[in-house]
């Protein structure tokens, strides 16, 4: 009885995953591509960088990168303070 319920739940889980995998949108076909097309067409001209990913990460989304660096800085400094306490 219990095994049957477990089997049913497992079957439901697997069928959900398989259904999702087959009904997913095909690769490289996003629902909204206006922003992508704009960056691909004008990114090199506006930022002057040949690497368009770099142009997005460090120029269009520079504030986001500043936040990432702040997260890394905070993590490493907090880790150093914690381990120094343990060493003493």
């Amino acid at each position: 009885m219990k095994k049957g319920i477990y089997f049913l739940v497992l079957l439901l889980f697997i069928s959900t995953l398989v259904f999702t995998a087959f009904s997913i949108r095909s690769f490289g076909a996003p629902p909204n591509s206006d922003m992508d097309n704009y960056i691909i067409e004008n990114g090199q001209e506006e930022t002057g960088a040949n690497n368009i990913i770099s142009g997005v990460v460090y120029d269009y989304r520079g504030f986001d990168t500043l936040g990432e660096v702040t997260v890394l800085f905070t993590a490493s400094i907090a880790f150093m303070v914690l381990i120094r306490r343990l060493n003493d």
Binding site: Q44, E45, T47, G48, A49, N50, N51, I53, S54, G55, V57, Y58, D59, G62, F63, T65, L66, E68, V69, T70, L72, F73, A75, S76, I77, F79, M80, I83, R84, L86, N87
Partner: protein, 153 residues
């Protein structure tokens, strides 16, 4: 963490300068080739990890110090913010690319170019700052982990 055999130490002392040079190359050419500040900084931090693993935590105290690594992490992340604030002082928005079309090591090209090393305005300085912050921050975490292993023995 004890030091490894002489073979590992010799090979790692041959390899780690090349690792650090490759990371610096990836940081400097982040606006032209695949890579950038985060990736190059991670490569440099892997060079630091190689030295620490090969030579052990006791001998790596001669190479690195946690105060210096923490100081350069702060310098890198503060330099990024300072580059952004300079744009406000010049009258633009925060992190505006104010170096395009000006003179810095020659004319900085504004628009599509062949891939000069001084193109892309403020991107290369930002990438250098991010590279310093990431390499020293990850190196600091690896170094402090090795010191923690020493305490528990």
């Amino acid at each position: 963490m004890i030091e490894m055999t002489k073979i590992v130490r010799t090979i790692s002392s041959l390899v780690y300068p090349l690792t650090i040079i490759f990371g610096a190359f990836m940081i400097m050419h982040g606006h032209l080739t695949p890579g950038g500040g985060f990736q190059g900084g991670a490569i440099i931090a892997s060079g630091i990890a190689l030295v620490i693993v090969a030579y052990g935590s006791e001998a790596s105290k001669d190479f690195f110090s946690s105060e210096k690594l923490a100081k350069y992490t702060g310098i890198g992340s503060m330099g990024f913010a300072v580059i952004g604030v300079i744009a406000i002082a010049l009258g633009y928005a925060f992190l505006h690319n104010y170096l395009l079309g000006t003179q810095l090591f020659g004319y900085v090209p504004d628009g599509i170019n062949q891939g000069f090393i001084n193109s892309a305005g403020i991107e290369p300085p930002i990438e250098i700052m991010v590279g310093i912050a990431v390499s020293c921050g990850l190196g600091l975490i690896i170094y402090m982990f090795s010191q923690l292993g020493e305490v528990e023995e």
